[in-house]
Structure formats: C-alpha cells, structure tokens
C-alpha cells in the first residue's frame, strides 16, 4: 500500500477513535467485546465454517449513537490478530458502524460495516531479492486496507440494556491491495464467537 493510502487510513482511524472518545464522554456505558474467530480465505456466503482452523482474536469497544427499546445504532473500534497457517499472520485495527435490533426474548441481529488497517507478516522465513540475489531478511510486513461487512446474531442474558450478550458473527472482508498485477484483492471470512458486556460509568443517571 502506498504511503498516501496508508496515511489516509491512519487518519481515518484517528478520527474514528477521537469520535469514539468524544461519544464516550456523553454516554453512560461503554460496550466491550472479545471474540475468538476462525479466519479463512473464501468467497463470502459460500462457506460458513472452514478447516483448517486459522485462529484469531479480536477486542472491540462500542458506543451507542442512539438507542431505542428494540434497536441501537453504534460505532466502535476494534483491534485483532489472526494466524493463517503456512501463510501469514495479521495484526489489524479498525472502526465500525453498525445497527442492532433486539427481540423481546433477547435474541439480537446486527449488521456492521468496518474499515481498518491490516499488517501481515509471513509465518516462515522470507527471502528478498537484493541486487539479483535472494537474501533472508526480517519481514517488515505488508500494509493493507481491510473493508468488512459483518452479520451477527446474539443473545442477551438479561432483559436490561446493559446485559451481557453472547454472539456469533459472520464477517466478510477484503485484503487490498493483495498482489498488485497478479491478485488485486483477497477475499476472507472470519467466523467469530464472542461475548459483549457493558462497563457502566458511575454517573448520576445510574
């Protein structure tokens, strides 16, 4: 990824995190989530769970933009890592915008759009051509844009809006650029299983 694009993404993340921080001052609670996931290269919606398992972990923070009895719009930021066997490991950071609707029996459905920055590193020795000779060098990684679309279903343990929630998330995402002039982008899916919970602030409203 060129420097301009990389700079653009970083700027976007800074703005996103700043907004999240600003919102947090106006909110009485922050929702945190942690999920374990199985990452794969796949065409979205043609596969659900794939093998071999390429494990990953993600933590995220969310703030409600507005909240109604049966739904909420939210924004958030996430940080994650995955390990794709024999190929690459990736560290990523990004921002999300989503909407969740909740039924009277505690089942929820959500959709999220995300945009992030991914940095991947080879999981085995990398050899770099220098002056016509391949030499083993430390992998400095490859930067990518990481747009994503996630569909999620969950279950709230209690009726109140601060209840903890278990969820399953089907995330489709792109790795771009992947291999310029060869494979322009790579399609991935990540199947998350996680838990979301609220951290209440000690305010007068509580």
């Amino acid at each position: 990824m060129n420097n301009a694009a990389s700079s653009h993404i970083r700027s976007l993340l800074v703005v996103s995190l700043a907004c999240t921080s600003a919102f947090s001052k106006a909110q009485d609670s922050l929702r945190l989530s942690i999920s374990l996931f199985n990452q794969s290269t796949a065409i979205p919606y043609t596969r659900f769970f794939t093998t071999p398992v390429h494990p990953g972990i993600q933590v995220a923070a969310e703030l409600d933009l507005n909240e109604r009895p049966r739904g909420r719009a939210f924004t958030g930021a996430h940080l994650g890592y995955f390990f794709h066997n024999h190929l690459a490991q990736g560290f990523y950071i990004g921002a999300d915008l989503g909407y969740e609707t909740r039924t009277t029996i505690g089942i929820s459905f959500a959709g999220m759009l995300g945009l992030g920055y991914l940095r991947t590193y080879a999981t085995k020795p990398e050899f770099i051509l220098q002056n016509g000779i391949y030499q083993q060098e430390r992998d400095r990684g490859n930067g990518r844009i990481m747009p994503s679309l996630s569909l999620e279903t969950g279950y709230y343990l209690r009726p109140d809006r601060h209840s903890s929630q278990f969820f399953i998330r089907y995330q489709s995402w792109l790795e771009y650029p992947y291999s310029p002039g060869f494979i322009e982008l790579m399609s991935h899916i990540s199947l998350h299983v996680g838990v979301r919970f609220s951290i209440r602030r000690n305010t007068a409203t509580q």
Binding site: S40, F83, H86, L87, T123, I128
Partner: protein
C-alpha cells in the same frame, strides 16, 4: 487487566507463529540420475550461462535449462539456488515440479491407446466414464475425447473458480483428490458448446486421466511409466502421486505479493498430485528428450502426430503473448524465430516449459523453482521467452 491479557495473548501468538526453515544437508540434493554431458564444451555455453544468470538476477530463485540442436547436441545448465534457506546452489541434474507439461504425456498416452485400438478420439468420453463427473460437468456428456484433449470441450476450468483459488490458499498443504477438484466445476455453465471454440481447461484432463485408468485398469501415472517414462529412458521423470515431495526435489518459492519477497512453497502443490492435468516431477533435460522423441514420431505414430498437431486458433487472442494455436496436449506459437511447439506448466512455486522448433530441430526446456507475482516476468512472459529464444538463436 483485560488489555494486558490481550497484549500477552498477541505476543504468545506471534512468538509461536513463526515456522523455521527446514534444515537440509546439501547431500539431500544429490542427483539420482546420470546427467554427465559435454555442456561446458558447447559453443554457446557462456551465452547460455549468462542467460540463466540474468533470469535469476531478475527474480527466479533458481533455473534449470536444457537445449538440444542437431548441430551442437545437448547443453544443460543451472543457475541460482535450489534451496535459499540452506544456500544450496542449483545443479543441472536437479529435479523440479513440471506442472501441466504432463498434459502432453496424457495426450501421447491417449493417442497410443487409440493406436492400440482401445479407443477412438472421436468417441464421447461419456462412452467410457459415468457417474457424477459426467452428470454434473456441463458438456461432459457430449464432449469427445479429441475435444477434451484440444481444450474444445467447453467444460469449465476448475482452477478458474474463485472458490477453488481461495480454498487452495486456505489449506495450502491439503492433498486434493480428483473428485475434490472436479466439484469446483460441477453445475457450472460450460464456456461454449463442444467443438465451437478452444479455451484452456484443466478439468477435461482430469477426465482423461480417469479414462486412461478405466481402459488400462491401473493408475494413469503407472501407464505413463510403462508407455513413456521407461521406454524413453526418462530417468528423472516421475509423477507426484508416487511420492508427493520426493527426496532431492528443489525447494519451491512464491512471490505471492508481487514484490520479489518470496516464501518457500515446496509443500503447497497438493492439488495436482493425483490428476492428469499436473503433478509431473523431473528435470527439463528429460522434458526436451520427450518432446524431441514425440515430435520425431518415436513415441506415437506419424499419423497420431499429425492428429496431435492439427492446430486450432482460439477466438480470444492474448495480445501479451505470441499468437498460439491449440493441438492435442500441445500448443503452437508463432515467434520471430519461427514456429514452435510447446507446453508449459505451473505448480505452486514452480514453473516449467518445453519448446520444440521443428524447422531447426531444436528443443529448449527450462524449469524454475519460483513463480507468481513478479517472478513470472523473468520466466514465462513473452519478453522472458524472447530473451531465451534470442540467446539460443542469436
């Protein structure tokens, strides 16, 4: 606390994630067949070695090449590395993956079976095979054996499926069976009606391998051994099904991100271990020997060779390459140095090409232990081939 735990987890993951290179003694790459020749005395030896050095300088980890012409005889050479991690130089006698060059062997075997009266090229392949492949591959019930050989069956190429490509990347060391691969072409529209055009497709060659097994009652690669490898003395040639990663095979490398930063991929080629569309292993010298014998009608009859070299041009022209025409398991290209018959092949981390210039009686075969991304520009594009042909025919 949660943040600390997460960071710790990340570090543990990252620390445990790195695979070490496989330590191999240089003796691992000792040649298992005789390759003694007088290459050093060949009048073009220096030029050829300069060519190989240029190919490796431009991104091929290692390269093997064999040139044979009626005047100067055989020349074999190598440059670069057989193993980057262990810093083992490539030797002219090393073996590499030869990928789809096997399709010419498949076609020659089918033509031999026709000569033996066991089939007719104009029979439908469905006359011999049945079940899911015939029922679920569009056009498979109508396509003739000849159309399968000439890529004119219209049967969809499983390798072109984005689902297959992502699935193979997802499980890089999976060993695929024919039915696993065929599934990626099942229930997909054919590219065109049988016989109405030509377009490269691996899928019919899986069927042709099954056809050979159906007729001969043994694995197709055993038939290759009996009819081709052994009679022609192709001592370096073998098929991956018998030993997926044989001792001595040079390490393969991929430039997955088009930046000439490569990783090893020796164990990534499991999709072509058991099908007749790929999976060949050997030395380019034997590829050249096979192609010369084939085109001199020493393998198949002159009549069969005439069928094999009845060319057909595709409706879609690739302007970035030489004009090509399709034969039966063989291609014809028009180059500034004259007409050439050829077949090339990729495996993951490997590339090979065998060419024969009938007017000159010259064969050129080369193998590279690297591909994809920017490596291909030095080894298999039109400019890469022009550099090779220009050196051989100065």
């Amino acid at each position: 606390m949660m943040r600390q735990g997460f960071i710790l987890c990340l570090f543990l993951c990252a620390l445990s994630a790195c695979e070490k290179g496989e330590t191999l003694d240089p003796g691992f790459y000792a040649c298992t067949f005789t390759a003694a020749d007088s290459s050093a005395d060949h009048p073009a030896h220096t030029n050829f070695m300069d060519l190989l050095q240029a190919i490796t300088h431009d991104g091929a980890p290692g390269v093997l090449m064999s040139v044979n012409d009626p005047v100067n005889g055989e020349w074999s050479g190598a440059a670069g590395m057989a193993d980057l991690f262990n810093q083992v130089p490539m030797k002219p006698c090393n073996i590499s993956r030869l990928g789809s060059t096997v399709k010419t062997f498949t076609a020659a075997t089918i033509l031999l079976l026709q000569e033996e009266g066991k089939l007719d090229l104009d029979d439908r392949i469905a006359d011999y095979l049945s079940g899911e492949p015939i029922e679920r591959l569009e056009n498979a019930d109508q396509a003739t054996i000849r159309q399968c050989l000439q890529h004119s069956s219209g049967i969809r190429n499983y390798i072109a499926s984005a689902q297959f490509q992502t699935a193979s990347l997802n499980d890089l060391i999976r060993v695929w069976r024919p039915e696993d691969l065929l599934a990626y072409a099942y229930d997909r529209p054919a590219d065109f009606a049988p016989g109405s055009d030509v377009r490269y497709s691996n899928t019919p060659y899986i069927l042709l391998g099954m056809l050979i097994e159906h007729i001969e009652g043994m694995p197709f690669y055993k038939v290759f051994e009996e009819k081709l490898f052994t009679p022609l003395g192709l001592t370096s040639i073998r098929f991956a099904a018998e030993d997926n990663v044989p001792d001595g095979i040079v390490r393969g490398y991929v430039d997955l991100y088009s930046n000439l930063n490569v990783i090893e991929s020796t164990y990534y080629s499991g999709w072509d271990y058991f099908t007749a569309d790929g999976g060949l292993i050997g030395n380019p010298k034997d590829l050249g020997r096979f192609l010369r014998a084939l085109t001199n009608a020493e393998v198949i009859s002159a009549a069969s060779l005439a069928e094999m070299t009845t060319w057909r041009a595709p409706s879609e022209v690739d302007d970035s390459f030489f004009p090509i025409q399709y034969g039966l398991g063989l291609f014809r290209m028009e180059t500034p140095w004259g007409e050439a018959w050829f077949h090339s092949g990729d495996a993951i981390g490997y590339y090979a090409c065998m060419t024969y210039f009938p007017a000159e009686g010259t064969s050129i075969a080369w193998g590279v232990n690297g591909n994809y991304g920017s490596i291909d520009e030095a080894t298999q594009t039109r400019p890469a081939m022009e550099r090779i042909f220009d050196t051989v025919f100065p």
